[in-house]
Amino acid sequence: MKLISRFGRFAPLVLAFLLILSGCNTNSSALNPVGKNAKMQADLMLLSLGIMLLVILAVMVIFFYVIIRFRKRKDDDSIPEQVEGNTKLEIIWTVIPIILIIIIAIPTVYQVFVLADDRPSASEIDKENAIRIKVTAHQYWWQFEYPDLGIQTATDLYVPTGKKVYVELTSKDVIHSFWVPTLFGKQDANPGLVNRMWFEVPKEGVYLGQCAELCGASHALMDFSVVALSPDKFEAWKKEMKKGADEPKTAEAKQGRKIFKQQCLRCHAIGKNGGNVGPNLAAYGERTMISGILEYNKKNLKNWILNAPKYKADILMPSFSDGSGAKLTEQQADALAEYLMQQKTGIELPQQ
């Protein structure tokens, strides 16, 4: 009876385990894989987890049996037999792990090579079913270029569904790591070097990504999104993006454009015109979030423009309210925000 009650203790643990697993279905969870890579990775995670749970179970059974059965009794002061070992047993617990590890190692190596498909150049990829993207990490934002399409975005990465996305990954400053848990595992963005990887998104949606390598004070705030559009929508989006900046529609936005040209162009571009120190602001009106961290609305955008370092410490963008950069009034910032929010392709965005 005692034995059963000891094991009974584990029942809540197992229950909790299952509950937790079912609660893992959030947009950032590796246990809720959507992309092809993440699904393959989740399969191997579960295979190795299953085998390892068997190992843990085997050890636990022997462990609890031993510590209950062989605990010292008060009246028993005899000297136990001093066993030196047992060759047969020792061979068994050497060979079984070897077999288990072979079972894990074979699919591992197979998958490593499948995921390492890294076609480097435009001529090698099948343009009908694949697309190339150049990802550059910065402290603390992500830059996305489409070398074959001549367009650029930042923070939101647009990809067509069902197509293979080939990624060339690098960094402008320190080491970052590129990760969208529901789509694919990490790949480091190393300064001065290029890493290649691919991924595929089967259905429309907005998928959360984040930097996974400590990169400085605002490392935790270096979030981004992958926006997957159906191939038709993606084509339309692409055409709109190539057009460049949209004309402002209101007087406020016109004022905003003037300020943008005076103050922002040095670092930021919309489409092709402008600096590339900061994120490209093309189609800013459709951003899923402001700088990957703030809810997208005009008030937040205004505050961000005025005081970016308050939200992300240690970024290059200066504060425009305390005079460390050129000074902007609240009204001017509002106008800028209005102008930026009018930059739209008009494509219907998928739900988060």
């Binding site: 191997l44 190992v55 591992t108």
Partner: protein, 611 residues
């Protein structure tokens, strides 16, 4: 005064244990601050910059300044006794090792008050550590360089000691498991620490003299740092865990009154793990982009480590099998180690599955994994060893009642803290994030984790209380302290051991020498020599002065980036260091002798005290 000049391995062991524990408290406070910050989403208790400093110092302090010295403390206090030696091979160098480590640690922690602690993570990946971080990184480089020199010397010292100073008859295959583990650990230190030394030197040149080893904008390559760091860093984690394996083997065997099961395979497993430790460093770098071939090779090598480790686990279980298990605090920690370490080991195999590791890497899953092996493995092992050998080191027992509270609070707190972190990792929470959004549902488990950390904090306070209480009025320990079940040589002499350890060097006739002698009806181990003069080294003030010179030089170099004239301070410090070396070399110190009459008196006095 005796404590700062001592060259006695037992006293140096105590110094290591005390300063290790002090740094353990620092690292623990840092851990609590981390858990306070992460207890709720979008917390603003700490800023990103301060959080990075605390995370970096928590890792660095715990690894280099808390658990390493705790291991060095136990090995100093116990290994010479286990092999029937009167001291280590180089007692003077032993003192230098300690003081170098100590001043290195102090230097590193001075950064808090002088412009901020290092903030690039304990792994200090370049170019973040190289050109983006401030003065704190210089403290990291020089503090670790100085402490690392001490560790390297210590490793060499114990290699020589174990090779040369074993008692007659104590052949390799009769060596106690703890001594074996320290031998392998010392080999690992000998080969791994030079890699760290060189890496730190390159970083030092980059930062202070404009070298370009790791700066990609000047043609350097930051991946080289990762390789160098992990060529050191992976063996380092085995440097940490192997002594825990050794402690566990001795504790489990003694507290269950059984000979260790499968001794030969236990030794082979240690050697194999030590060897493989150097073959797997790139599994920390699966996401770096080394290519499929390298990733596959390192994955398979990593999985292979599970085999000898599994052998050890089952051998421990079968040591317990058929024994008479006493649930002393020492044994509780040892028994708590087994299931905990198995969980940490199995997640290790999961991490070796390269493509799955793309998901696990740098997430809280990894944080959970390495805390399961380092805290659930090593720290449990250290607690087991400390409770087990405390009476041998101090002559008094730690209180068992407080000890059991200490164990249960620490054990429950540990699992409460780190078990949920596996799931946080799978749910996409990256490590080293100072904050996280509420929508992702990470809040609950982080809160549980923080509660667990509080439990561990209370357990540590209890342990401190235990030390204080028992040092005032603890139960006195006999030589063969634990129920007369001692198996190895250290239990055959009085507790604490006399300064000369063994009045007569023991003659070892078989494995578990003392246990075997007791079974044959002897109350002591047969001596290998008649009572004679014992040669003892003299105390010396030079080690502390020498290390203090290195400490001053460290400061000089750190501030030389800001002000070139502080290089004079560095030169002054180096002059003290090399000057005291010169004095030590030129001045012959022949030590002193204890004569037999004196020894007889001392021995009979001890016998009387014990009876």
């Amino acid at each position: 005064m005796d404590w700062i000049t001592t060259v006695d391995h037992k006293k140096i062991g105590i110094l290591y244990l005390m300063s290790g524990f002090l740094f353990f408290l620092f690292g623990g406070i840092e851990a609590i601050l981390i858990r306070v910050q992460l207890a709720v989403p979008e917390n603003d208790f700490l800023s990103g910059e301060i959080y990075n400093q605390i995370v970096t110092m928590h890792g660095t302090t715990m690894i280099f300044l808390a658990v390493m010295p705790a291991i060095f403390g136990l090995m100093n206090a116990i290994v010479p006794l286990q092999i029937g030696a009167r001291d280590v091979a180089f007692p003077f160098m032993n003192a230098v090792s300690f003081w170098m480590f100590f001043f290195g640690g102090v230097l590193l922690n001075c950064s808090w008050f002088l412009g901020g602690a290092p903030a690039a993570g304990w792994t200090a990946y370049a170019p973040l550590s190289d050109i983006y971080e401030g003065l704190g990184m210089d403290f990291y480089v020089l503090g670790l360089q100085i402490a690392g020199a001490g560790t390297l010397m210590g490793g060499i010292n114990f290699l020589v000691t174990i090779v040369n100073m074993r008692a007659p008859g104590l052949t390799w295959m009769r060596l106690p498991m703890f001594t074996w583990s320290i031998f392998i650990t010392s080999v690992l230190i000998l080969f791994a620490f030079p890699a760290l030394t060189i890496g730190l030197f390159l970083l030092f040149f980059d930062r202070l003299f404009g070298g370009n080893f790791f700066d990609p904008s000047a043609g350097g390559n930051p991946i080289i740092w990762e390789h160098i760091f992990w060529i050191f860093g992976h063996p380092e984690v085995y440097i940490l865990i192997l002594p825990a394996f050794g402690i566990l083997s001795d504790v489990i065997s003694q507290h269950s009154r059984k000979r260790i099961f499968g001794y030969t395979s236990m030794v082979l497993a240690l050697v194999l793990i030590g060897f493989l430790a150097f073959m797997v460093w790139a599994h920390h770098m699966f996401t770096v982009g080394l290519g499929p071939v390298a990733n596959s090779v390192f994955a398979i090598m990593t999985m292979a480590i599970a085999i000898p480790t599994g052998v050890k686990i089952f051998n421990w279980l079968f040591t317990l099998w058929g024994g008479q298990i006493r649930f002393t605090t020492a044994n509780l920690f040892a028994l708590g180690f087994i299931p905990t370490f198995v969980m940490g080991g199995t997640t290790g195999v999961m991490l070796a599955v390269v493509t799955a590791d793309f998901q696990f890497h740098d997430s809280y899953f990894v944080v959970a994994h390495f805390h399961y092996v380092i805290v659930g493995g090593l720290v449990f092992g250290l607690f087991a060893g400390i409770y087990h050998w405390w009476p041998k080191i101090f002559g008094r027992f730690l209180n068992e009642t407080i000890g059991k509270w200490n164990f249960w609070l620490f054990f429950i707190g540990f699992h409460l803290t780190f078990f949920p972190q596996h799931f946080l990792g799978l749910m996409g929470m990256p490590r080293r994030n100072f904050t996280y959004p509420a929508e992702l549902g990470w809040g609950d488990m982080n809160f549980i984790s923080s509660i667990g950390a509080a439990f561990m904090g209370v357990a540590t306070i209890l342990f401190t209380w235990n030390i204080v209480v028992t040092s005032i009025k603890g139960e006195k320990a006999k030589g063969d302290a634990w129920y007369g079940d001692g198996r190895t040589l250290e239990w055959s002499i009085s507790s604490p051991a006399p300064e000369y350890n063994f009045a007569q060097t023991p003659l070892v006739k078989e494995f578990d020498a003392f246990w075997a002698e007791k079974r044959n009806g002897n109350d002591r181990v047969t001596p290998a020599e008649p009572l004679g003069e014992i040669h003892m080294p003299n105390n010396s003030i030079i080690p502390i002065i020498m290390s203090f010179g290195a400490f001053i030089a460290g400061f000089g170099f750190i501030f030389s980036a800001e002000n070139k004239s502080s290089l004079f301070v560095a030169a002054f410090g180096l002059a003290i260091m090399f000057g005291s070396m010169l004095v030590h070399s030129l001045y012959d110190d022949h030590g002193h002798h204890l004569i037999p009459d004196e020894l007889k008196q001392k021995e009979s006095k001890r016998k009387g005290a014990e009876a």
